[in-house]
């Protein structure tokens, strides 16, 4: 069953078509990897899905609803979460406050006026335990190490509990150990959540990916399992430049 369908999506920046007539389907509960050389339009595709960039033409249907013209916060309310390439936690807030912010089942002002504190239990506790930050809840997020910051961001995405999670290079700057742990988390996540990952680390892709889509110059180049992709001569050509 499809969670999201993208039809003929195009975005034009001046003379450049960063994404050019892209069509793809995302199945419920799968982990889809987006690969491609620099400038292939992978991050832009994520931007188009979460609303950071508005499409020039084409259509995005998410969970039966056309979201092409919706604002970012409305797409987030539909169940689309996003992790950016640069770790973007709120440095002035504590670890717990970051999680409280991300956990937003009712993000309206009138609801928020009535919430005074989120107890550390249930899903919030679970998420903090998964990423191993349960003992650091009162620490300012700005004082976390680089790895911990990445973890906090993943915890925030888990707390947000989106149906679809968009990850832009989640293992960038992680040690091998941390990358392995991240892969384990991703494997536990898929099924309940649908995940689209943009990633360069092939080691990591081999561990998590079920289906891989390769993009080139804004369009879909190849699609299939990791083994099929690695054997595909067209993919070799764009990566090696032949």
């Amino acid at each position: 069953m499809n969670l999201m369908q993208i039809h003929n999506l195009t975005v034009q920046f001046g003379g450049l078509r960063a994404v050019n007539g892209l069509s793809l389907e995302v199945r419920k509960g799968e982990l889809l990897c987006l690969l491609g050389p620099n400038g292939a339009g992978k991050s832009t595709t994520l931007d188009l899905i979460c609303g950071k960039t508005r499409a020039t033409s084409g259509q995005i249907v998410f969970d039966g609803q056309d979201i092409t013209g919706l604002k970012e916060y409305k797409r987030a309310r539909c169940g689309i979460g996003r992790k950016f390439q640069v770790p973007s936690v709120f440095k002035d807030l504590t670890v717990l406050e970051n999680i409280e912010l991300a956990r937003s089942p009712r993000p309206g002002i009138l609801d928020a006026l009535r919430v005074f504190r989120t107890p550390i239990r249930g899903r919030v506790r679970e998420v903090l335990q998964i990423v191993g930050l349960i003992d650091l809840v009162d620490l300012r997020a700005g004082n976390l190490s680089h790895g911990q910051t990445q973890w906090l961001e993943i915890a925030m995405l888990l707390a947000q509990d989106s149906k679809l999670i968009l990850m832009d290079e989640p293992t960038a700057g992680m040690t091998i150990q941390e990358t392995l742990q991240t892969a384990a988390i991703f494997n536990a996540l898929k099924g309940d959540h649908t995940i689209i990952v943009v990633e360069h680390d092939m080691q990591f892709v081999r561990q998590v990916a079920e289906r891989v889509i390769v993009m080139n110059q804004g369009s879909l180049l190849a699609e299939g399992s990791i083994a099929e992709i690695e054997a595909d001569p067209r993919v070799k050509a764009v990566y090696l430049g032949h």
Partner: protein
Amino acid sequence: MNRNNTSDYLGHLVFVLAILLGVPAALGFDGFELNTFARYLSLAIVAAALALSWGTAGILNLGQAATFGIGAYVMAMHLKLVASAGNPDGLPDFMGWNNVTSLPWFWQPFQSLGATLALGLALPALMAWAMGIFMFRARITGVFVAIITLAFLVALQLWFIEEQRFTGGQNGLTGLAPLDLFGWQVDTYSLGFYYLVAGCLIAALALGTLILRSKVGLVLRAIREDSQRVRYFGYDVAGYETFVFSTSAAIAGWAGMLYALVLEFASPTYIGVAFSLAIVIWVAVGGRESLVGAAVGAILVNLAEGRLSDLFVESWLLILGVGFILFVLFLPRGLYGLLRQGFDRLARLRMRAAGRDVKPQESAR
């Protein structure tokens, strides 16, 4: 949301006790002396209003005086109508001098005290809401908000001066009647009036603090840091910004109403750039991260102005100016930041001391 707030609560308690008991006791419960202090307290309310939007959400409203001034004019219009009840058609004197023959429609609602009190809050809030929708939906932030609000303030003041027939022009609204607050004839030189203003200040601070302690405060602090990221969690950033901007405007309007009562007139200088920038200075001195800090800043600066102008008739402005520069250079987080830092250092020292106590025991074992 915040969990390490014992020092904050303590600070609030000290402040409330000082306002309710300390100051009146120091001034001998004398209504005449307390009138001056009531003026400071009403200015403290508008300072807290600015801290609400600037300190938390990072929205620097350089036009805060506009909302304050509207509150003041609303109150003054009511009192002017009460004072003019004996005139033909109940027309205020200055309108007669300007050949206005009947009371304009927008003066009519201010015949009623209830409508006046409601409009004193609602008009500034509505105005801010309209501006907020326009600014925040277009994702205008930072210095551009400051420029737009400042430009609006200047335009509003010009308009108030220009429309002399309806606003009293440069003279403002003078010759006001005393306020009859539901049967209580308010004497602005009485202990009762001081407590009315003090009560309003404490209520405004409590309201603002409640908002900031709720999840709305958390979202606003997150918006100050990275508004774009907040959107991807499903929060309507423009909505939150407009909310805090309007709430701040309503509280400023409230302060303006009290200010018009204290001074017994409303003048276009209340909508002036100089006054608006003064509010920013008070908040910067007190510390914009804390509403009570901002209120204390307003009170202290105004006290200092009063004392310095008595002592140094010629050079007091210069002394005050140098003081502000030193503050901004060396205490960018204001007095509140200084206290906060002190408390944090104390807590760290205590923790380190506790750590040292533990170690010898361990080695003894």
